[in-house]
Subunit: 378 residues, 4 copies
């Protein structure tokens, strides 16, 4: 019943075996090895285009190094108000960009839309040195709220971005899950839809520590090698990244892993939604389930070993209200989630008998309320 | 009819004369001269306490150098959503703090209140490296919307700030106007009310280029001299700043100048509010008047030489709506504003006859609408 | 007998009068005023080309803002080992460039030469992300050691720079003195000799606080306005800078002022060199005299009110050795230095009778040795 | 015959097995897992003290994050002129410290000594904002030139550092090799000798990607967690680092690996030194051999598959001169180097018959000179 985060697993067996296979013999250091080269080739094949790609160990490094190639330090980056780059990466974006600013949009809504961008540009400061100007748009796919953007939705957003001379970054920490969910070609969700650079997350979905920064617009990439080095993200034993990515992409292993996570999330969401007192907040489209349940139910689940996080109320749609006796929680499935993990969780939730007094909204207060916890990672 | 900004005037005669008087003979450079020393003494007398003070040429330099002494680069600064530091100083705060983040509060309201701070702390991220933590509060006195905080209001804000271990910065670009308006001791509005560092603006109110960064909490000031030097703000001929501040503070010259500006703003506000079709948005408490008027009236005023800016609608209270035929403008008075400047402006405004078709709300569109303009400075 | 620095004077009368003249009436803020415009025009006329120019208050701001337009944060700037940017501006270059690095060349020599550049490029790290690559050359004119580069010498340096794809910055804090000394057109020493951007210092030579950043290569200048604003160096009352520059350039006032400083330095150097026990270290070509004299002589001069600094031995030519009983001092003349200042100084120096025991090299130690002092500024 | 760098191997079998063992089941993310905890415990045991430790993926990240905890952005760091932080890490130190400066000492000498520090402090700028002041000393153990500092030598350096209020950082990318060479307790070379923070490199000596930043002075460490996160160096699957360090430290595996590397270096050095025309530059004390050999010999070695780098002449002692027909090369051994690798290399070198014309110093030029190559890493 481990639904804390998809980063709480290890690597898939296949990925681990490829790391081991790559461990033999001498290679050149700093990414000038055969494994790194082959990994980039695998990405070119996967995305069906001639791209540049670089590997780093964390999503924060990938996102912020990529963004630092898109904006000057006196410019801004538009993103969703709940995006990982603005909520969960400390001030890394400011650090890497030399002080550029993030602008969070779409408060209280699940996804960015063209409307948010247009409204922003209407009220944005003028193009004078006093007012920082936007020069990049960051889209998260799948979103931090478990939703996915269709290829058309992405194309609409990037069209408006392009009109205002913005580059487009995609935070793809859960890109695998989005591709698996939408069942379309990776190319359709990225460069064909106007994305300039994708941070393709592999860590959450089967690798140990490997994120690919994929530049479809290759002229942006020129400065990346310098920025990566000076940020301490150029690994000497590059084959560690290369081998992970190769094992992960081969034979659509990455999508197979993502399909399992998505499937289990759907099962979890469907069963939970049928339990009295439980509401699903956003449609479950990838591998995250956001639910409101009686606090006592959440407390009970934790007490029997279930792992998950309560989530921040500021992300909620404006028309969703959480009662004092309710808990707003996030459940994340992964490539290792099995049927019985989901079933057990739902059984415990369902089996939790609520007395009249414990029903949300009742006057008697819950004594052992499930407190706010760390919302680390995604 | 120059109401564009209080920074569009020159220096007061008295200030200019003091600069000239200070021009004689040799002095040591870099602020180790007698004029600088005397200026700091004058500030100590004005604020009735043993403070440290440093001088720079712009409000942006003063604010952002001061803030950089209060927070680490992975922390945040709370401020009003319309504050100058977040709207009008490019990404200077990020630059000077090494990438700390501003968090704008109180959208759609005129002033920060304890309620805004408490709500923020309720929903703020936890104290883990992922989520940047607040370490400073910035209050603007008088505010960008022409309002003033009473000593009690400031004390309430700083009390909550202190509870959360935040230092308190005051952007006093128009501190003179606030002191003149509230008719209380400068000490009461600053250190006695819990302010740690005040950026005291002299430029808008009679100097050529002089802002004092006044540290009431002196241990914060230690790093300032290094930060000022490496930002290129340590002037070699320090007497230029020192003499301005001396001339400005002597005999309460600064308050005399501010009183004139405030008085003329009050006159302007009162007369305008009596003109049909004109609304005053916030009470006129210092030297700025925010008014809504028929667009045609604004266009006409400009056509006969009046100078003022249209202002951003995002600053408006939520219950104030601007019609398509209306203009939302800001008028700023200064120490040089005279009765006849105000009278002329109001006469022109009043004399502008609106035909039925031009009345705000009428269906016929205005053809020569007053376009959005630069909102430089305050 | 004030020879501490040329920044210890006030402004020339003419400059001060122009400031006063500019103080009348309203203007637009932030450098969009007529005075600023006219100052740029005056620079275009002076340099006989179509340049971009911006004004700031200090040499450090001018130099480091200019340099930040020339290099990326992972690149380096070549300069003389004794240059002001590497010795006297704290870590301002690193701050403004986001962490680029200065590389000091020509240790123990008075000027940069083509040989230094060529040697550097021979041993420089390869063009890989590990090794920072040079992208700019900074030349100081006149140098920190009181020497001047001829137009030919500058052209030779910039030729080599260009071969290696370096932009060329000139720190012209004492450019006036160099032009006056070389008696050639400002254009010949700058853009015609391959300089891309000149920081033209006016403060040391007659202004209160005004430095012009002059871009001959205008495409570099695009980002300057943003960098200036976010560094807090965009003055609201721009006419303060504009008027100084206008008054300073008009009728070759700036050269007239520099001629006086140079003339007095030459007089000082010549007379001093005839005094027993005194040696002049570098030829006196501008307005600075570097001399070695008996310590007792220096102590005596100070005791009767002479003002000057002892200078760092690391700047000395390798073949110049300073005895334990000697002092190495810098004397700077300015536009206000008069014949009698120089004459008095030399008389006191000359009149200082050395007993046998006090002669440099004698075994008896001096008891009241002239201690090391602040080497602030230039 | 792979002597390019010790980072060109994979991981030791034991380390790889521990990674695999750690791959099972769920753990908390971001270093709050049992493996990370156990790794820190293992370090405490190894160094016999109560330390704080954090893990990152590269030596550059370890060094520069550690240094950023020691100095303010307006201060400097003293280090050897050939140190990795100044030569091979781009401008990472500037990036992480927000613009602090490295000062390279001991040009042309193999190690830092007390004399270098004392000389530096004699000529350093005064403690005024103009001149950046030193606040940290960085020592490399083993050095980039294959030498080791004894415990006494370190204690002498840190004593002088402490006198000037400097913190002490040790770049221990090859600390294993130094400990193995000196055969003393890790504690004796670090905290007992006055080191505040050690960057303990494990990657070069048997891990895939793991460097420990070890704070002996624990109050410095407080800010590290924030700096690591905002630099993108906080790994979600922390057990990847933890397991490597555990496998590496257990049963003195790390020293066993280092002993092999050192032993082979000694063998290589001894045999090479007996070959006519070959000189060893510095004593071989750890796992690096620096040799001068006829260019033709180097070319021949490469032609039969030997891998090594030519090294920069600027690192050479002043009394060592390289003839035009000679090559200055670096050979690095590792935990995987075997007897026959060394033997084969020496045989090929020895067997290379030099005709009279090919002897170094002969007038006939070599046609196939061994060109300068990438000097990546160490």
């Amino acid at each position: 019943m481990q639904f804390g985060s998809d980063n709480q697993t290890g690597a898939s067996t296949r990925v681990l075996e490829t790391i081991t296979a790559a461990n033999v013999g001498h290679t050149h250091g700093y990414g000038e090895d055969e494994w790194t080269e082959r990994a980039v080739d695998a990405l070119r094949e996967t995305f069906q285009c001639d791209l540049d790609a670089f590997f780093v160990s964390t999503g924060t490094a990938a996102n912020t190094l990529a963004l630092s190639c898109l904006v000057q330090s006196w410019e801004t980056i538009l993103c969703h108000a709940q995006s990982h780059i603005i909520i969960d990466e400390s001030t890394a974006p400011e650090f890497f960009t030399g002080g550029a600013r993030l602008v969070g949009l779409a408060h209280g809504e699940g996804k960015l839309s063209v409307r948010h961008l247009k409204n922003y540009f209407l009220s944005a400061g003028l193009d004078i040195p006093h007012n920082p100007q936007s020069r990049a748009l960051s889209i998260t796919q799948a979103t931090e709220l478990g939703l996915v953007y269709t290829a058309d939705e992405i194309a609409e957003l990037t069209f408006v971005a392009r009109q205002h001379n913005l580059s487009v970054h995609m935070d793809g920490a859960r890109f695998s899950n989005a591709v698996a969910a939408l069942d379309c070609a990776p190319a359709d969700l990225t460069w064909k839809a106007g994305v300039d650079v994708l941070c393709l997350g592999a860590t959450k979905n089967g690798c140990l520590a490997a994120e690919a920064v994929v530049f479809f617009k290759r002229d942006i990439a020129k400065q990346f090698v310098h920025r990566r080095k000076r940020a301490g993200h150029l690994l000497s034993k590059g084959r560690f990244y290369g081998s992970q990515i190769i094992g992960w992409l081969q034979d659509e292993h990455w999508l197979e892993l993502a399909h399992n996570a998505n499937l289990q999330a759907t099962r979890l969401s469907e069963t939970l939604s049928s339990i009295p007192g439980v509401r699903i907040v956003w449609p479950t489209q990838a591998n995250e389930v956001f639910a409101v349940m009686p606090k006592q139910m959440a407390v009970h689940l934790k007490s029997v070993g279930a792992d998950f996080y309560e989530w921040g109320h500021e992300s909620l749609p404006r028309d969703v209200h959480i009662g004092e006796d309710e808990a707003f929680i996030r459940l994340v499935t992964s490539f290792t989630t099995e049927d019985n993990h989901v079933d057990n969780f739902c059984e415990v939730a369902n089996g939790h008998k609520l007395t009249q007094a414990q029903l949300p909204g009742s006057k008697e207060k819950n004594r052992n309320a499930c407190g706010k916890e760390k919302e680390t990672g995604r």
